[in-house]
Amino acid sequence: MNTELKKVMVIGGGIAGLTAAWELSKLNVHVELIEKDCFLGGHAIKYACKATDKCQQCGACSVEAMLKNVDNEPLINVHLATEIDKVNRNGKFKVTLKKSTMDFSSQSLLQGFSKNNSPLYVITDKDKCENIPEGAVELSELGSEGEIDVDAVIMASGFKPFDAKIKSHLNYENFSNVISGIDVERIKRENGEVLRPSDGKVPEKIAFIQCVGSRDDRLGNLWCSKVCCAYGLRTAQTLKYQNPEAEITVFYMDIQNVSKDYPAFYEKCKSDFKFVRTIPADIYPLENDNMLIRHMNEDDGVAIKEEFDLIVLSVGIMPGENNSYLSETFGLDLNESGFFSNSNGLNSALTSKEGVFLAGTTSGPSDIATSIAQSGQTASEVIKYLGGA
């Protein structure tokens, strides 16, 4: 059958949505790509390369490549700063779009990583904006409204990083040198290396605290975020590479497998870092913007205090903040963790509603490579549904 005139809406312009859109467009399907933010690429486009003297397979560069694919694809119609208002199902889907309700007011000028067709800069407040870069677009110019008819919908609305403020004892809000895994990515991208926020110095004694927000019974977060061991250890390797003198301690519960060459990678980590099997309860400030972590020495059970000049909190993957709204709008179920549930345990793309599919972290934590794979599967299911099989 001919799928040439079929149209699919992809909700979310992160790596999952981009991949699904791109795979569908390659098979001659029109795509309406909806992104509530001002830029495409989601969280992953903000991630830094984690290569040392060799690539550590973090996949950050593949997001940029996919964004470029989508930017250059005429079959994909991008709606930035746009959200779903309502949906009518009458055979097809009649989706009403509205301008994004996200709060963009924290900065007068937003900078995104999008290229080519998409704006790189968005002005939210012209009066406060001192230097307006060439090609900048005003927020008011973005955002689509009105109705679009589509044959199928892909939910690729993504995740929310755990807000480290919630675990107040870690003092993320209070100490400038306690940073999250997301902050590390930003700092690395801006500087080409990781520097500590308080004084821009190369950190020498660094702690990584794993499972921040994940595997946390008290918060009801009974899931492993799957990505934090990977990004935590890879980032630690880049720190060790940029400063071989750096002393790095990893506080952890269980280390998960990272990439295909895991055994060799983990052995290297064990020889380069100190692993302490406990999640510290408290972090105390010191005068030089350093911090003290108290934990139990595993050998003799005595409490020890250790000083660090940078602490990285490996925050986990939480359900997307619009999950309940989107699930209600489309009549989908969320699972007990708050992610979208797939109707078939062996197929992450399928939902209980015909014509509505899932991709990427909507259905649970996954890394970049897995999100790309799942989106390919989703595209395949959509093609079958559209009768292209």
Binding site: A51, C61, R189, G192, D254
Partner: protein
């Protein structure tokens, strides 16, 4: 034949070969057949659709097997192996052997979906398997048979110990099996389950919840980094370990020990890798650890790898692979015509001495030879140009990156009186060029004397180009590549670094300070790193 690569449409075969008739192979075949292509599945064993019992949801597995077996577009050949393959994407000639009898087929695409094998790890603990020391698979068969379960567990008040992750790190698939068995055993009155483990591999959907459920039901998890000492005393087995909470040695006496199994790559992987020129990773699974290959691409066009052929992963992920492989096959085969752009390599048969240097330096298996010259397949060639740089006869030219074009670019770049202050940077289009654009867009301050020359891969940077730049007066020359393990052509970056390092050694001899030449790696999304690398070079030579 023409020496000029041309944009053209090439007719190809749309039949597909799937190697491996396990669940992933059959699922892949079924999906591809549903897209309208004929599929041949070869399975080395005497039955296709046999699957590993340790995985869930038998009904859905059976339905996949039956659906594939009933599909009229799928031909399943059992006890059949691949013995020979020639040709390229769109036109593979494969020889399939059954009982010594060989049949030939022409296929457009190949999916490798080999299985894994399962071995018990009892030798790691120096114990033999017995009634009291069983494998995970045996445990599962006991639990799935109510009579066996009754006779082994009920009224016996047994202490059952699972040993996992010693000495080798385990995986979520193994943990899922242990948790499921533990829950069932713990439910039998009087039974107590211990799981001895180093790192619990929970990175799979639903496992942390299952882990909590097990603990809530009374399963005891003992975390210890060192392998426990297992000693058999008649029907009992004692397991000695260092208890981290008590900080002393402790011993559990168990009536039933369950030994973990290792998932190993299929024995036939090495053979297939050789026949199809496919890369394996360090663990003998297909596909190198390279983000550009994920999810199911191989180093060769038209050959895809799915499921446990490339990685041990949960069944749902194998199915994800199967659907990806199918969609990649559909994308490649289309309606039987492949459009080739004009950026592939062409060998000049008059210059070619068939030394086969090109054949050896091609990561994509795109080169063969016929008569007096090597030939490059326009479909299989990825245009990286590594072969062109390696060819001792300069017999290979690649699309828009012909030697004379690049040399002319070097000339133009260094025209005029300022040549002596210029830095020429040969930038791989996949990494350094992108990073340079980003540095430029973000105004990170690239020096004015930096002159960028785009190359399809650092592997395309011929020693001649570098020398030409120096001869024309360049102050410095940089070859900027993707990081090791991130090259789309697998080792174009490595070849480039070899060339630079070799050349550096001889530069001193001809009176050029070797610091004026460098090889660096940079990622496409790291504009700031690009700026730093250039600045370092600038500082070094000024």
């Amino acid at each position: 034949m023409t020496l000029e690569p041309v944009k053209q449409d090439i007719n190809i075969s749309t039949d597909v070969l799937v190697i491996g008739g396990g669940l992933t192979g059959l699922k892949t075949a079924d999906q591809i057949a549903d897209f309208g292509y004929n599929v041949t599945v070869i399975e080395k064993n005497n039955e296709a659709g046999c699957f590993f019992s340790g995985q869930e949801d038998l009904n859905s597995e059976l339905s996949i097997v039956n659906k594939a077996k009933d599909n009229s577009k799928i031909e399943i050949l059992t006890e059949t192996v691949l013995v020979k393959s020639t040709g390229f994407a769109g036109d593979f000639n494969v020889s399939l052997s059954k009982d010594g009898k060989t049949t030939e087929k022409n296929v457009g695409a190949i999916v490798v979906a080999t299985d894994f094998s399962v071995e018990p790890l009892n030798e790691n603990f120096n114990v033999d398997l017995s009634e009291n020391i069983v494998t995970q698979t045996e445990m599962e068969s006991i639990l799935s048979d109510s009579d066996k379960k009754k006779s082994v567990l009920e009224g016996k008040n047994k202490i059952v110990v699972f040993l996992t992750s010693f000495p080798k790190e385990s995986n979520p698939l193994a943990l899922q099996r242990i948790l499921k068995s533990s829950l069932t055993i713990q439910d039998v009155e009087g039974s107590q389950v211990y799981v001895m483990v180093d790192n619990i591999k929970l990175a799979s959907d639903g496992l942390d919840r299952l882990y909590k459920e097990s603990r809530d039901k009374g399963v005891i998890f003992i975390k210890t980094e060192d392998s426990p000492e297992v000693t058999v005393n008649g029907e009992k087995t004692s397991i000695k370990f260092f208890d981290k909470i008590l900080r002393s040695e402790a011993t559990i006496t168990s009536e039933l020990v369950v030994i973990e199994e290792n998932f190993s790559p299929d024995m036939i992987n090495s053979g297939i890798s050789e026949l199809l020129s496919l890369d394996l990773d360090s663990g003998n699974f297909f596909q190198t650890d390279n983000v550009h290959r994920f999810p199911v691409k191989s180093n060769r066009v038209g050959v895809f790898v799915a499921g446990s052929a490339r990685k041990i992963q949960p069944l749902s992920s194998n199915y994800t692979d199967a659907e990806n492989a199918a969609i990649f096959v559909k994308d490649f085969l289309g309606n039987g015509t492949v459009s080739v752009s004009a950026d592939y390599g062409v060998v000049d048969p008059d210059k070619c001495a068939i030394c086969l240097t090109c054949y050896r330096s091609c990561a994509h298996g795109a080169i063969y030879w016929e008569g007096d010259a090597a030939i490059i397949s326009p479909i299989a060639c990825q245009g990286c140009g590594n072969c062109a740089s390696e060819c001792p006869m300069d017999a290979i030219q690649v699309g828009e990156y012909k030697d004379d074009i690049i040399l002319e670019q070097v000339n133009k770049t260094l025209e005029g009186s300022e040549a002596e202050s210029q830095i020429v940077a040969f930038c791989c289009q996949n990494s350094a060029l992108e990073a340079a654009e980003m540095a430029n867009d973000l105004d990170l301050g690239l020096p004015d004397n930096l002159k960028i020359i785009k190359v399809p891969c650092a592997g395309k940077v011929d020693v001649d180009y570098i020398l030409k730049a120096f001869v024309n007066g360049a102050k410095g020359v940089m070859v900027l590549a993707c990081h090791t393990g991130n090259c789309k052509s697998e080792f174009g970056n490595t070849f480039a670094s070899w060339r630079v390092n070799n050349l550096k050694k001889s530069l001193d001899n001809i009176g050029i300070n070797q610091d004026r030449l460098c090889f660096e790696t940079v990622a496409s999304n790291m504009g700031k790193s690009f700026q730093k690398i250039v600045q370092d070079m600038q500082d070094k030579i000024s």
